[in-house]
Symmetry: C2
Subunit: 297 residues, 2 copies
Protein backbone atom coordinates (compact mmCIF):
# COMPACT_ATOMS: atom_id res chain seq x y z
CA UNK A 1 0.00 0.00 0.00
CA UNK A 2 2.90 2.40 0.59
CA UNK A 3 6.66 2.59 0.61
CA UNK A 4 8.42 4.51 3.32
CA UNK A 5 11.42 4.61 5.58
CA UNK A 6 10.65 4.98 9.25
CA UNK A 7 12.68 7.91 10.54
CA UNK A 8 11.59 8.06 14.17
CA UNK A 9 14.08 6.75 16.71
CA UNK A 10 13.28 3.56 18.60
CA UNK A 11 12.47 5.47 21.78
CA UNK A 12 10.05 7.73 19.91
CA UNK A 13 8.08 4.92 18.37
CA UNK A 14 8.05 2.67 21.42
CA UNK A 15 7.32 5.13 24.24
CA UNK A 16 5.65 3.17 27.06
CA UNK A 17 2.61 5.39 27.80
CA UNK A 18 0.55 6.56 24.82
CA UNK A 19 -0.19 9.91 26.56
CA UNK A 20 3.50 10.85 26.54
CA UNK A 21 3.60 10.85 22.72
CA UNK A 22 3.40 14.18 20.85
CA UNK A 23 0.43 15.65 18.99
CA UNK A 24 1.18 15.89 15.26
CA UNK A 25 0.15 19.13 13.50
CA UNK A 26 0.60 19.91 9.82
CA UNK A 27 -0.02 22.58 7.22
CA UNK A 28 1.18 23.46 3.73
CA UNK A 29 3.41 26.13 5.31
CA UNK A 30 3.57 28.47 8.30
CA UNK A 31 -0.13 29.46 8.51
CA UNK A 32 -0.94 26.47 10.71
CA UNK A 33 1.36 27.91 13.35
CA UNK A 34 -1.52 30.23 14.40
CA UNK A 35 -3.38 26.99 15.20
CA UNK A 36 -0.38 25.51 17.01
CA UNK A 37 -0.16 28.78 18.96
CA UNK A 38 -3.65 28.22 20.41
CA UNK A 39 -2.88 24.55 21.07
CA UNK A 40 0.26 25.52 23.02
CA UNK A 41 -1.71 27.97 25.15
CA UNK A 42 -4.63 25.63 25.81
CA UNK A 43 -2.60 22.43 26.23
CA UNK A 44 0.68 23.58 27.84
CA UNK A 45 1.59 20.11 29.16
CA UNK A 46 1.48 18.41 25.72
CA UNK A 47 4.38 17.82 23.33
CA UNK A 48 3.90 18.83 19.70
CA UNK A 49 5.58 18.04 16.41
CA UNK A 50 4.68 20.43 13.57
CA UNK A 51 5.31 19.73 9.88
CA UNK A 52 5.13 22.52 7.29
CA UNK A 53 5.10 21.22 3.71
CA UNK A 54 6.74 24.44 2.51
CA UNK A 55 8.35 22.81 -0.54
CA UNK A 56 4.87 22.28 -2.03
CA UNK A 57 3.21 25.45 -0.64
CA UNK A 58 0.54 26.63 -1.41
CA UNK A 59 -2.05 23.86 -1.61
CA UNK A 60 -4.87 26.25 -2.59
CA UNK A 61 -4.75 25.65 -6.35
CA UNK A 62 -4.00 21.90 -6.29
CA UNK A 63 -6.38 19.06 -7.13
CA UNK A 64 -8.08 17.40 -4.15
CA UNK A 65 -6.57 13.97 -5.05
CA UNK A 66 -3.07 15.46 -4.98
CA UNK A 67 -3.69 17.08 -1.59
CA UNK A 68 -5.02 13.72 -0.30
CA UNK A 69 -1.73 12.10 -1.29
CA UNK A 70 0.37 14.87 0.31
CA UNK A 71 -1.65 14.58 3.52
CA UNK A 72 -1.11 10.78 3.59
CA UNK A 73 2.65 11.24 3.16
CA UNK A 74 2.81 13.80 5.97
CA UNK A 75 0.67 11.62 8.24
CA UNK A 76 3.08 8.69 7.77
CA UNK A 77 5.99 10.91 8.74
CA UNK A 78 4.20 12.18 11.87
CA UNK A 79 3.16 8.62 12.74
CA UNK A 80 6.81 7.57 12.55
CA UNK A 81 7.59 10.43 14.94
CA UNK A 82 5.20 8.89 17.44
CA UNK A 83 2.16 11.17 17.00
CA UNK A 84 -0.82 10.15 19.16
CA UNK A 85 -3.32 12.41 17.36
CA UNK A 86 -3.21 14.39 14.11
CA UNK A 87 -4.33 17.98 13.59
CA UNK A 88 -4.82 19.24 10.03
CA UNK A 89 -4.07 22.94 10.54
CA UNK A 90 -4.79 23.93 6.94
CA UNK A 91 -8.13 24.80 5.39
CA UNK A 92 -7.38 23.40 1.93
CA UNK A 93 -6.04 20.12 3.34
CA UNK A 94 -9.00 19.78 5.70
CA UNK A 95 -11.50 20.38 2.88
CA UNK A 96 -9.74 17.98 0.47
CA UNK A 97 -8.26 15.26 2.64
CA UNK A 98 -9.87 14.98 6.07
CA UNK A 99 -12.26 12.08 5.28
CA UNK A 100 -9.67 9.91 3.49
CA UNK A 101 -7.00 10.67 6.07
CA UNK A 102 -9.35 9.81 8.93
CA UNK A 103 -10.16 6.43 7.33
CA UNK A 104 -6.46 5.75 6.76
CA UNK A 105 -5.45 6.62 10.33
CA UNK A 106 -8.27 4.58 11.88
CA UNK A 107 -6.69 1.53 10.23
CA UNK A 108 -3.38 2.05 12.03
CA UNK A 109 -2.60 0.04 15.17
CA UNK A 110 -3.26 3.08 17.35
CA UNK A 111 -6.54 4.03 15.64
CA UNK A 112 -5.38 7.64 15.41
CA UNK A 113 -7.89 10.52 15.58
CA UNK A 114 -7.58 13.21 12.91
CA UNK A 115 -9.05 16.66 13.62
CA UNK A 116 -9.34 19.44 11.05
CA UNK A 117 -9.98 23.17 11.14
CA UNK A 118 -13.38 23.64 9.49
CA UNK A 119 -15.92 21.89 11.74
CA UNK A 120 -14.84 23.30 15.14
CA UNK A 121 -15.02 26.83 13.76
CA UNK A 122 -18.44 26.26 12.20
CA UNK A 123 -19.74 24.86 15.50
CA UNK A 124 -18.40 27.77 17.48
CA UNK A 125 -19.81 30.32 15.03
CA UNK A 126 -23.30 28.79 15.24
CA UNK A 127 -23.03 28.75 19.05
CA UNK A 128 -21.96 32.40 19.04
CA UNK A 129 -24.42 34.03 16.63
CA UNK A 130 -27.59 35.65 17.97
CA UNK A 131 -28.77 37.14 14.67
CA UNK A 132 -28.34 33.90 12.67
CA UNK A 133 -26.12 35.76 10.19
CA UNK A 134 -22.54 34.51 10.08
CA UNK A 135 -19.74 35.91 7.91
CA UNK A 136 -16.84 33.93 6.43
CA UNK A 137 -13.52 35.29 5.21
CA UNK A 138 -11.48 32.67 3.33
CA UNK A 139 -9.42 31.98 0.22
CA UNK A 140 -11.33 31.56 -3.07
CA UNK A 141 -10.61 27.79 -3.00
CA UNK A 142 -12.04 27.38 0.47
CA UNK A 143 -15.11 29.48 -0.36
CA UNK A 144 -15.85 27.47 -3.52
CA UNK A 145 -15.43 24.16 -1.66
CA UNK A 146 -18.53 25.16 0.35
CA UNK A 147 -17.03 23.21 3.27
CA UNK A 148 -17.97 25.88 5.83
CA UNK A 149 -21.49 26.16 4.42
CA UNK A 150 -22.00 22.40 4.82
CA UNK A 151 -20.48 22.37 8.30
CA UNK A 152 -22.63 25.31 9.45
CA UNK A 153 -25.84 23.89 7.95
CA UNK A 154 -25.25 20.45 9.47
CA UNK A 155 -25.52 22.10 12.88
CA UNK A 156 -28.23 24.65 12.05
CA UNK A 157 -29.91 24.76 8.62
CA UNK A 158 -31.50 28.15 9.37
CA UNK A 159 -28.29 30.11 9.76
CA UNK A 160 -27.19 32.26 6.80
CA UNK A 161 -23.51 32.19 5.85
CA UNK A 162 -22.17 35.24 4.00
CA UNK A 163 -18.89 34.13 2.41
CA UNK A 164 -16.30 36.61 1.12
CA UNK A 165 -13.44 35.25 -0.99
CA UNK A 166 -10.19 37.15 -0.34
CA UNK A 167 -7.73 36.40 -3.16
CA UNK A 168 -4.81 38.51 -1.81
CA UNK A 169 -5.15 38.61 1.95
CA UNK A 170 -3.09 35.53 2.90
CA UNK A 171 -0.28 36.64 0.56
CA UNK A 172 -0.29 40.17 2.02
CA UNK A 173 0.01 38.71 5.52
CA UNK A 174 2.63 36.12 4.59
CA UNK A 175 4.75 38.88 3.00
CA UNK A 176 4.81 40.64 6.37
CA UNK A 177 2.68 43.53 5.11
CA UNK A 178 -0.11 42.95 7.61
CA UNK A 179 0.31 46.33 9.28
CA UNK A 180 0.49 48.58 6.22
CA UNK A 181 -1.95 50.60 4.12
CA UNK A 182 -2.35 47.86 1.49
CA UNK A 183 -3.53 45.43 4.17
CA UNK A 184 -5.88 48.09 5.52
CA UNK A 185 -7.45 48.61 2.06
CA UNK A 186 -7.71 44.84 1.41
CA UNK A 187 -9.33 44.24 4.79
CA UNK A 188 -11.71 47.19 4.41
CA UNK A 189 -12.92 45.81 1.07
CA UNK A 190 -13.38 42.31 2.51
CA UNK A 191 -15.34 43.59 5.50
CA UNK A 192 -17.79 45.82 3.62
CA UNK A 193 -20.17 43.03 2.38
CA UNK A 194 -20.16 41.52 5.89
CA UNK A 195 -21.11 44.87 7.42
CA UNK A 196 -23.85 45.32 4.80
CA UNK A 197 -25.18 41.84 5.64
CA UNK A 198 -25.27 42.72 9.35
CA UNK A 199 -23.42 39.60 10.52
CA UNK A 200 -22.63 39.36 14.25
CA UNK A 201 -20.06 36.55 13.96
CA UNK A 202 -17.21 36.19 11.46
CA UNK A 203 -15.28 32.97 10.79
CA UNK A 204 -11.60 33.51 9.95
CA UNK A 205 -11.44 30.69 7.41
CA UNK A 206 -7.72 30.82 6.74
CA UNK A 207 -4.96 30.19 9.26
CA UNK A 208 -3.17 33.40 8.20
CA UNK A 209 -6.00 35.72 9.25
CA UNK A 210 -5.59 35.71 13.07
CA UNK A 211 -2.49 37.87 12.52
CA UNK A 212 -4.75 40.75 11.48
CA UNK A 213 -7.55 40.19 14.00
CA UNK A 214 -7.08 43.64 15.65
CA UNK A 215 -7.60 45.29 12.27
CA UNK A 216 -10.61 43.09 11.49
CA UNK A 217 -12.14 43.73 14.91
CA UNK A 218 -11.77 47.47 14.43
CA UNK A 219 -13.39 47.42 10.96
CA UNK A 220 -16.23 45.14 11.94
CA UNK A 221 -16.84 46.78 15.30
CA UNK A 222 -16.62 45.49 18.87
CA UNK A 223 -20.08 43.86 18.73
CA UNK A 224 -18.88 41.27 16.14
CA UNK A 225 -17.37 38.00 17.45
CA UNK A 226 -14.35 36.71 15.51
CA UNK A 227 -13.99 32.92 15.41
CA UNK A 228 -10.60 31.51 14.44
CA UNK A 229 -9.50 27.94 13.82
CA UNK A 230 -7.04 27.65 16.65
CA UNK A 231 -9.16 28.39 19.71
CA UNK A 232 -12.13 26.33 18.48
CA UNK A 233 -9.96 23.39 17.44
CA UNK A 234 -7.90 23.41 20.65
CA UNK A 235 -11.02 22.68 22.69
CA UNK A 236 -11.89 19.71 20.43
CA UNK A 237 -8.34 18.35 20.69
CA UNK A 238 -8.59 18.62 24.48
CA UNK A 239 -11.88 16.67 24.46
CA UNK A 240 -10.48 14.02 22.11
CA UNK A 241 -7.42 13.48 24.32
CA UNK A 242 -9.56 13.19 27.45
CA UNK A 243 -12.01 10.75 25.86
CA UNK A 244 -9.19 8.56 24.52
CA UNK A 245 -7.24 8.88 27.80
CA UNK A 246 -4.34 10.32 25.87
CA UNK A 247 -3.62 13.43 27.99
CA UNK A 248 0.08 13.88 28.68
CA UNK A 249 0.77 12.66 32.25
CA UNK A 250 3.16 15.58 32.85
CA UNK A 251 2.14 17.52 35.99
CA UNK A 252 2.13 21.30 36.44
CA UNK A 253 5.37 21.21 38.44
CA UNK A 254 7.13 19.53 35.51
CA UNK A 255 6.71 22.66 33.33
CA UNK A 256 5.51 22.95 29.75
CA UNK A 257 5.72 20.37 27.03
CA UNK A 258 8.13 20.53 24.10
CA UNK A 259 7.43 21.57 20.54
CA UNK A 260 9.55 20.97 17.50
CA UNK A 261 9.41 21.72 13.80
CA UNK A 262 9.93 19.94 10.53
CA UNK A 263 9.64 21.44 7.06
CA UNK A 264 10.10 20.16 3.53
CA UNK A 265 11.56 23.44 2.22
CA UNK A 266 14.18 25.95 3.41
CA UNK A 267 14.62 25.71 7.19
CA UNK A 268 15.88 29.30 7.69
CA UNK A 269 12.95 30.82 5.80
CA UNK A 270 10.61 28.66 7.85
CA UNK A 271 12.20 29.74 11.12
CA UNK A 272 12.09 33.44 10.27
CA UNK A 273 8.50 33.50 9.05
CA UNK A 274 7.40 30.95 11.61
CA UNK A 275 8.53 32.98 14.62
CA UNK A 276 6.20 35.79 13.56
CA UNK A 277 3.27 33.39 13.09
CA UNK A 278 3.84 31.44 16.32
CA UNK A 279 4.72 34.48 18.48
CA UNK A 280 7.14 32.25 20.38
CA UNK A 281 10.72 31.12 19.71
CA UNK A 282 10.88 28.17 17.29
CA UNK A 283 14.24 26.68 18.24
CA UNK A 284 15.70 24.14 15.82
CA UNK A 285 13.89 23.44 12.52
CA UNK A 286 14.63 20.09 10.89
CA UNK A 287 14.53 19.55 7.13
CA UNK A 288 12.58 16.42 6.19
CA UNK A 289 12.12 14.52 2.92
CA UNK A 290 8.73 12.87 2.74
CA UNK A 291 8.54 9.31 1.41
CA UNK A 292 6.03 8.88 -1.41
CA UNK A 293 2.91 6.84 -0.72
CA UNK A 294 1.70 4.65 -3.57
CA UNK A 295 -1.99 5.32 -3.24
CA UNK A 296 -4.48 6.80 -0.86
CA UNK A 297 -7.35 4.87 0.63
Amino acid sequence: MMTRVVRGTASETSSPGQGGRPIGVFDSGVGGLTVLHELLVRLPREDFVYLGDTARFPYGERAPREIERFAAEIAEELLARGAKLLVVACNSATAAALPSLSRRMMQTTLGLDVLGVVRPEALQAVASTRSGRIGLLATPTTVSSRAYEQAVHTVDPHVTLHAVACPDLAAVIQAGEQFDERALATVREACRPLQDAGVDTVILGCTHYPLISPMLQRMLGPQVTLVSSGAALARQVEHALSTRELRNPRTEGEGEGEYRFLCTGDVEAFRELGTRFLQMPLGEVEHVELAAVEAVA
Copy 2:
Protein backbone atom coordinates in the same frame (compact mmCIF):
# COMPACT_ATOMS: atom_id res chain seq x y z
CA MET B 1 0.99 79.73 35.20
CA MET B 2 2.48 78.47 31.95
CA THR B 3 3.98 79.61 28.70
CA ARG B 4 3.09 77.84 25.50
CA VAL B 5 2.31 78.29 21.83
CA VAL B 6 -0.98 76.81 20.66
CA ARG B 7 -0.19 74.59 17.70
CA GLY B 8 -3.65 73.18 16.89
CA THR B 9 -5.29 74.65 13.78
CA ALA B 10 -8.37 76.85 14.20
CA SER B 11 -10.70 74.08 13.03
CA GLU B 12 -9.19 71.62 15.52
CA THR B 13 -9.60 73.87 18.53
CA SER B 14 -13.04 75.22 17.62
CA SER B 15 -14.90 72.10 16.49
CA PRO B 16 -18.63 72.71 17.06
CA GLY B 17 -19.66 69.47 18.89
CA GLN B 18 -17.50 68.33 21.78
CA GLY B 19 -18.03 64.66 20.84
CA GLY B 20 -16.28 65.15 17.50
CA ARG B 21 -12.98 66.00 19.23
CA PRO B 22 -10.27 63.35 19.57
CA ILE B 23 -9.28 61.36 22.65
CA GLY B 24 -5.75 62.25 23.74
CA VAL B 25 -3.48 59.35 24.74
CA PHE B 26 0.10 59.62 25.94
CA ASP B 27 3.04 57.58 27.11
CA SER B 28 6.78 57.98 27.57
CA GLY B 29 7.26 56.03 24.33
CA VAL B 30 5.62 53.31 22.23
CA GLY B 31 4.40 51.02 25.06
CA GLY B 32 1.13 52.95 25.37
CA LEU B 33 0.29 51.87 21.82
CA THR B 34 -0.85 48.51 23.25
CA VAL B 35 -3.41 50.58 25.19
CA LEU B 36 -4.34 52.58 22.08
CA HIS B 37 -4.73 49.28 20.24
CA GLU B 38 -7.49 48.22 22.66
CA LEU B 39 -9.09 51.66 22.50
CA LEU B 40 -9.20 51.49 18.68
CA VAL B 41 -10.87 48.07 18.79
CA ARG B 42 -13.39 48.98 21.48
CA LEU B 43 -14.15 52.52 20.26
CA PRO B 44 -13.84 52.31 16.46
CA ARG B 45 -15.88 55.49 15.82
CA GLU B 46 -13.61 57.75 17.92
CA ASP B 47 -10.68 59.86 16.73
CA PHE B 48 -7.42 59.58 18.65
CA VAL B 49 -4.26 61.63 18.97
CA TYR B 50 -1.33 59.81 20.58
CA LEU B 51 1.78 61.48 21.94
CA GLY B 52 4.93 59.47 22.71
CA ASP B 53 7.49 61.44 24.73
CA THR B 54 10.30 59.39 23.18
CA ALA B 55 12.94 62.13 23.64
CA ARG B 56 12.66 61.69 27.42
CA PHE B 57 12.01 57.90 27.48
CA PRO B 58 12.06 56.05 29.85
CA TYR B 59 10.22 57.67 32.76
CA GLY B 60 10.86 54.73 35.08
CA GLU B 61 13.89 56.13 36.91
CA ARG B 62 12.77 59.78 37.07
CA ALA B 63 11.58 61.68 40.14
CA PRO B 64 7.78 61.90 40.52
CA ARG B 65 7.88 65.76 40.43
CA GLU B 66 9.69 65.65 37.08
CA ILE B 67 7.15 63.19 35.64
CA GLU B 68 4.35 65.47 36.90
CA ARG B 69 5.84 68.34 34.93
CA PHE B 70 6.28 66.24 31.76
CA ALA B 71 2.68 65.06 32.02
CA ALA B 72 1.46 68.65 32.38
CA GLU B 73 3.41 69.71 29.27
CA ILE B 74 2.01 66.83 27.24
CA ALA B 75 -1.51 67.53 28.47
CA GLU B 76 -1.26 71.13 27.29
CA GLU B 77 -0.17 69.97 23.85
CA LEU B 78 -3.05 67.48 23.60
CA LEU B 79 -5.48 70.12 24.87
CA ALA B 80 -4.32 72.44 22.09
CA ARG B 81 -5.01 69.58 19.66
CA GLY B 82 -8.62 69.58 20.84
CA ALA B 83 -8.57 66.51 23.13
CA LYS B 84 -11.92 65.87 24.86
CA LEU B 85 -10.50 63.32 27.36
CA LEU B 86 -6.99 62.28 28.35
CA VAL B 87 -5.67 58.75 28.76
CA VAL B 88 -2.38 58.23 30.60
CA ALA B 89 -1.17 55.05 28.89
CA CYS B 90 1.95 54.70 31.01
CA ASN B 91 2.31 53.05 34.41
CA SER B 92 5.05 55.35 35.71
CA ALA B 93 3.16 58.49 34.63
CA THR B 94 -0.08 57.20 36.11
CA ALA B 95 1.56 56.38 39.43
CA ALA B 96 3.42 59.73 39.61
CA ALA B 97 1.17 62.24 37.91
CA LEU B 98 -2.49 61.17 37.72
CA PRO B 99 -3.76 63.08 40.79
CA SER B 100 -2.03 66.38 39.91
CA LEU B 101 -2.94 66.08 36.24
CA SER B 102 -6.59 65.37 37.07
CA ARG B 103 -6.74 68.48 39.26
CA ARG B 104 -5.11 70.57 36.57
CA MET B 105 -7.44 69.35 33.81
CA MET B 106 -10.56 69.80 35.90
CA GLN B 107 -9.66 73.50 36.04
CA THR B 108 -9.74 73.86 32.24
CA THR B 109 -12.84 75.25 30.52
CA LEU B 110 -13.88 71.78 29.36
CA GLY B 111 -13.32 70.12 32.76
CA LEU B 112 -11.37 67.31 31.09
CA ASP B 113 -11.42 63.77 32.50
CA VAL B 114 -8.06 62.04 32.90
CA LEU B 115 -7.97 58.23 33.06
CA GLY B 116 -4.90 56.18 33.91
CA VAL B 117 -3.87 52.56 33.59
CA VAL B 118 -3.59 51.27 37.16
CA ARG B 119 -7.09 51.44 38.64
CA PRO B 120 -9.08 49.81 35.78
CA GLU B 121 -6.70 46.83 35.82
CA ALA B 122 -6.89 46.47 39.60
CA LEU B 123 -10.69 46.53 39.44
CA GLN B 124 -10.82 43.93 36.71
CA ALA B 125 -8.34 41.67 38.49
CA VAL B 126 -10.40 41.74 41.70
CA ALA B 127 -13.56 41.03 39.69
CA SER B 128 -11.82 38.11 37.94
CA THR B 129 -10.13 36.27 40.83
CA ARG B 130 -11.89 33.38 42.53
CA SER B 131 -8.99 32.30 44.78
CA GLY B 132 -8.30 35.84 46.07
CA ARG B 133 -4.66 35.50 44.95
CA ILE B 134 -3.65 37.98 42.23
CA GLY B 135 -0.24 38.22 40.58
CA LEU B 136 1.40 41.39 39.27
CA LEU B 137 4.21 41.62 36.72
CA ALA B 138 5.63 45.15 36.47
CA THR B 139 8.82 47.21 36.34
CA PRO B 140 10.75 47.61 39.64
CA THR B 141 9.61 51.28 39.83
CA THR B 142 5.95 50.36 39.49
CA VAL B 143 6.25 47.54 42.01
CA SER B 144 7.94 49.79 44.62
CA SER B 145 5.31 52.52 44.09
CA ARG B 146 2.76 50.04 45.55
CA ALA B 147 0.16 51.71 43.32
CA TYR B 148 -1.43 48.38 42.31
CA GLU B 149 -1.46 47.17 45.92
CA GLN B 150 -3.34 50.28 47.00
CA ALA B 151 -5.75 50.10 44.06
CA VAL B 152 -6.48 46.40 44.68
CA HIS B 153 -6.94 46.86 48.44
CA THR B 154 -9.26 49.84 48.00
CA VAL B 155 -11.65 47.48 46.24
CA ASP B 156 -11.06 44.38 48.36
CA PRO B 157 -8.74 44.45 51.40
CA HIS B 158 -8.76 40.63 51.63
CA VAL B 159 -7.16 39.94 48.28
CA THR B 160 -3.45 39.05 48.28
CA LEU B 161 -1.26 40.67 45.61
CA HIS B 162 1.92 38.78 44.67
CA ALA B 163 4.13 41.34 42.89
CA VAL B 164 7.10 40.32 40.74
CA ALA B 165 9.49 43.06 39.62
CA CYS B 166 10.87 42.38 36.11
CA PRO B 167 13.95 44.55 35.53
CA ASP B 168 14.66 43.43 31.96
CA LEU B 169 11.37 42.38 30.42
CA ALA B 170 10.23 45.70 28.91
CA ALA B 171 13.69 46.22 27.39
CA VAL B 172 13.73 42.70 25.90
CA ILE B 173 10.33 43.35 24.31
CA GLN B 174 11.20 46.86 23.11
CA ALA B 175 14.35 45.46 21.44
CA GLY B 176 12.14 43.15 19.41
CA GLU B 177 13.43 40.04 21.16
CA GLN B 178 10.02 38.98 22.49
CA PHE B 179 10.01 35.73 20.54
CA ASP B 180 13.49 34.45 21.36
CA GLU B 181 15.06 32.20 23.98
CA ARG B 182 16.18 35.11 26.17
CA ALA B 183 12.57 36.30 26.45
CA LEU B 184 11.47 32.74 27.22
CA ALA B 185 14.01 32.48 30.07
CA THR B 186 13.10 35.94 31.45
CA VAL B 187 9.39 35.15 31.35
CA ARG B 188 9.87 31.71 32.90
CA GLU B 189 11.76 33.24 35.82
CA ALA B 190 9.11 35.93 36.31
CA CYS B 191 6.27 33.40 36.27
CA ARG B 192 7.74 30.91 38.76
CA PRO B 193 6.88 32.83 41.98
CA LEU B 194 3.35 33.43 40.64
CA GLN B 195 2.91 29.71 39.98
CA ASP B 196 4.26 28.89 43.45
CA ALA B 197 1.78 31.36 44.97
CA GLY B 198 -1.10 29.71 43.08
CA VAL B 199 -2.52 32.95 41.63
CA ASP B 200 -5.49 32.63 39.26
CA THR B 201 -5.29 36.18 37.82
CA VAL B 202 -2.20 38.08 36.68
CA ILE B 203 -2.05 41.85 36.08
CA LEU B 204 0.26 42.88 33.24
CA GLY B 205 1.46 46.06 34.95
CA CYS B 206 3.51 47.41 32.07
CA THR B 207 2.19 48.44 28.65
CA HIS B 208 4.93 46.41 26.91
CA TYR B 209 3.79 43.06 28.30
CA PRO B 210 0.69 42.38 26.14
CA LEU B 211 3.13 41.66 23.28
CA ILE B 212 4.18 38.46 25.05
CA SER B 213 0.77 37.40 26.36
CA PRO B 214 0.79 34.09 24.40
CA MET B 215 4.06 33.14 26.08
CA LEU B 216 2.79 34.21 29.51
CA GLN B 217 -0.47 32.32 29.04
CA ARG B 218 1.43 29.18 28.11
CA MET B 219 3.76 29.42 31.15
CA LEU B 220 1.00 30.24 33.62
CA GLY B 221 -1.50 27.78 32.16
CA PRO B 222 -4.93 28.25 30.56
CA GLN B 223 -6.70 28.50 33.94
CA VAL B 224 -5.00 31.84 34.72
CA THR B 225 -6.69 35.06 33.56
CA LEU B 226 -4.37 37.75 32.20
CA VAL B 227 -5.52 41.33 32.79
CA SER B 228 -3.90 44.05 30.69
CA SER B 229 -4.22 47.82 30.85
CA GLY B 230 -5.80 48.34 27.47
CA ALA B 231 -8.94 46.21 27.65
CA ALA B 232 -9.79 47.27 31.22
CA LEU B 233 -9.14 50.94 30.51
CA ALA B 234 -11.07 50.98 27.23
CA ARG B 235 -14.26 50.07 29.08
CA GLN B 236 -13.76 52.92 31.55
CA VAL B 237 -13.11 55.37 28.71
CA GLU B 238 -16.33 54.20 27.05
CA HIS B 239 -18.27 54.77 30.29
CA ALA B 240 -16.68 58.21 30.81
CA LEU B 241 -17.59 59.30 27.27
CA SER B 242 -21.19 58.10 27.66
CA THR B 243 -21.66 59.77 31.06
CA ARG B 244 -20.24 63.07 29.76
CA GLU B 245 -22.17 62.74 26.47
CA LEU B 246 -18.89 62.93 24.61
CA ARG B 247 -19.29 59.90 22.29
CA ASN B 248 -18.29 60.68 18.73
CA PRO B 249 -21.52 61.23 16.72
CA ARG B 250 -20.06 59.31 13.73
CA THR B 251 -22.41 56.48 12.67
CA GLU B 252 -21.42 52.95 11.62
CA GLY B 253 -21.93 53.78 7.93
CA GLU B 254 -19.38 56.58 8.20
CA GLY B 255 -16.56 54.12 8.91
CA GLU B 256 -13.88 54.20 11.58
CA GLY B 257 -12.39 57.23 13.27
CA GLU B 258 -8.93 58.60 12.57
CA TYR B 259 -5.81 58.20 14.64
CA ARG B 260 -2.61 60.19 14.43
CA PHE B 261 0.73 60.29 16.15
CA LEU B 262 3.08 62.82 17.67
CA CYS B 263 6.44 62.15 19.23
CA THR B 264 9.16 64.24 20.81
CA GLY B 265 12.02 62.10 19.45
CA ASP B 266 12.91 60.51 16.11
CA VAL B 267 9.79 60.03 13.98
CA GLU B 268 11.14 57.14 11.88
CA ALA B 269 12.19 55.12 14.93
CA PHE B 270 8.76 55.78 16.40
CA ARG B 271 7.00 54.64 13.27
CA GLU B 272 9.02 51.44 12.94
CA LEU B 273 8.71 50.38 16.56
CA GLY B 274 5.17 51.70 16.85
CA THR B 275 3.79 49.60 14.00
CA ARG B 276 4.81 46.45 15.87
CA PHE B 277 3.24 47.66 19.10
CA LEU B 278 0.00 48.92 17.51
CA GLN B 279 -0.43 46.02 15.05
CA MET B 280 -1.93 48.48 12.58
CA PRO B 281 -0.40 50.94 10.11
CA LEU B 282 0.65 54.19 11.79
CA GLY B 283 0.61 56.56 8.81
CA GLU B 284 2.32 59.94 9.29
CA VAL B 285 4.15 60.62 12.56
CA GLU B 286 4.62 64.29 13.46
CA HIS B 287 7.58 65.60 15.46
CA VAL B 288 6.51 67.92 18.25
CA GLU B 289 8.44 70.22 20.62
CA LEU B 290 6.68 70.55 23.96
CA ALA B 291 6.48 73.98 25.54
CA ALA B 292 7.73 74.08 29.12
CA VAL B 293 5.23 74.65 31.88
CA GLU B 294 6.38 76.85 34.75
CA ALA B 295 4.92 74.85 37.60
CA VAL B 296 2.51 72.06 38.29
CA ALA B 297 -0.56 72.47 40.46
